[in-house]
Amino acid sequence: MNFATNPVLARELRVRVRSWRAVGALLLYLLLVGLVAWVAYESQRSNTVNRFDGGTVTATETAGIGQSVFEWTILLLLLLVHFSVPGVVSGAIAGERERQTLVPLQVTLLRPISIVLGKISAAVAFILLLIVATMPILAIGYLIGGVSKADVVRALAGVIGTTLVLACVSAWCSAVTRRVQVATVMAYGVMILMTLGSFALYGAAAVLDERDNRFDRTDPPAALLYAAPVVAVADLIADEPDGNINSPFEGLAATSERDGDILDTGIPYWLESTLVLAGISILAVWRASRHVTTPAETER
């Protein structure tokens, strides 16, 4: 079955897009993004022009404003992805079970992987819609300056990649549980484990390192943060730290820069992390489709 004609994807998109909830969510989201972009702009501008030189702004400072608007908008997109994707995708398979619509699907010619991928791609498609809707706001940063086309492409690739990873993991949570509520709690739990859990691990390693200084280095291995997509995106966007205090990503990117040299592969951090996250995603999708496959040992 052709991916573009996947009936599960077509159904999900049709039902999702025509509801007023989707329109409301989109409107609310755009208001929020607009507000964040405006606050970022005003904050950076006031930091830049309120000085004793009569308010002259150099080209570098203008670029800083553009970059700040752009990065804060991307951060908001990333936060939205982290908080919305588990909620949206966790109901995908468990919801079919709860509504008792999974069995009729399982006795069609749809392959289990098509069911799982249809659900994941519908969630990704909705996030893509949000990204497209964000483009005019992202364009402000691009037009002010300080942001290249490559920066935009890299940032959007990071957001879409993060969406995919979280959608795949949430689909697995949805496939292994029978109730949407349980799947949702589990999906958010896994998301928190991947992000905050990674930071907690990194922090704990830093404390131990400082105490023992066993490996004669000051920083724990950045590989501990591979499972946190936000660090990879930060590494991808803010790859050249310039001390911009208004950049939300520079601190995170610097964390990935200070690698403890355990895996000195010469490959950029974001690529290493992407490979790990791709592995996690493929494993999650494979396991999810196994849980939808019939005939099974028990009724699913």
Partner: protein, 291 residues
């Protein structure tokens, strides 16, 4: 081509400590309306789930239209329509979208879908509801929609698990008529149900299950004959006298009435079956064991 639509040999299914299906042997003839009868926990749904390629048996073999539901599930799914006991419909779609979705899931080409959906809606008498949201349908309509769903790929075999449950008397009659029409279209239909009176009127063959075991199978009259029982007919004559007769099946019942009225010239004012039907058969075979 074999005369059996379904052949089951030594089929067993265990869920933990519970033996849901216990060494069942069964043959279901092509073109029949086959009733699977039994109390809750008898193993009917599990047996249907195995045939519908959903559950793997613990032991034994099943063959559906010449294919193994375990080794060739897709080949079976192409030729089988399964309607589970729970309706499971998407409330957020319209009736025609719902059928179109399942047509797509059965690889039916986009250009053929509209005509197919229109034909199915006509068959199940839902044409006027084509654009209505599924959630606005009554239970009987949803049941007919589910039946239309299992027909989208024109399967040869239909497995209907408790199709009449929760339906009002009119909806049951409509469903029964529909099932009879589908048999007329050459389909083999397996129906599991508790409502014996409904099955009695449409089934050509039955199997009675209890506690996972198959107690009897065949045409109801054959089973009655094997059990040495039959239909008990209460006859009231014009002179006020009553008599009871035992017949094996419908044909014998008709012959009895003809003999009494024409050959023996005894005016009959009431001719009622009082026992020996599917219900008596069921009660005489089962012991009320619940797993």
């Amino acid at each position: 081509m074999t005369d059996c639509a379904v052949r089951i040999q030594g089929l067993s299914k265990r869920f933990g400590p519970t033996l849901a299906v216990d060494d069942v042997d069964l043959e279901i003839p092509r073109g029949s309306i086959f009733g699977l009868i039994g109390p809750n926990g008898a193993g009917k749904t599990t047996t249907l789930s195995i045939l519908a390629t959903l559950v793997r048996p613990t032991s034994g073999e099943a063959e559906v239209l010449g294919h193994s539901p375990i080794r060739e599930p897709r080949a079976v799914r192409r030729r089988l329509g399964y309607m589970p006991d729970q309706l499971g419909v998407y409330d957020d779609m319209s009736v025609d979208e719902y059928l179109g979705f399942f047509a797509a899931a059965h690889d039916i080409h986009r250009r053929d879908r509209a005509a197919l959906v229109a034909g199915l809606l006509e068959l199940v008498d839902l044409t006027v509801k084509a654009e209505a949201p599924v959630q606005s349908l009554s239970r009987g309509m949803k049941q007919r929609l589910s039946l239309a769903r299992v027909l989208v790929h024109d399967p040869e075999l239909l497995l209907l698990d408790e199709p009449a449950s929760g339906l009002d008397p009119r909806a049951r009659v409509e469903l029964r008529d529909l099932v009879t029409r589908l048999q007329g279209m050459g389909k083999t239909i397996i129906i599991s149900s508790h409502i014996l009176a409904e099955l009695e009127q449409v089934c050509t063959d039955v199997a009675i299950m209890e506690a996972g075991r198959l107690l009897a199978s065949g045409a109801p009259s054959e089973i009655l004959e094997q059990l040495g029982g039959g239909r008990v007919i209460q006859v009231t004559f014009a002179d006020g006298s009553n008599e009871q007769f035992t017949v094996a099946d419908e044909a014998e019942q008709e012959a009895l009435l003809r003999r009494l009225v024409t050959s023996e010239n005894r005016p009959v004012v009431e001719f009622t079956r009082t026992g020996g039907g599917l219900e008596d058969l069921f009660l005489s075979l089962t012991e009320g064991i619940v797993q």
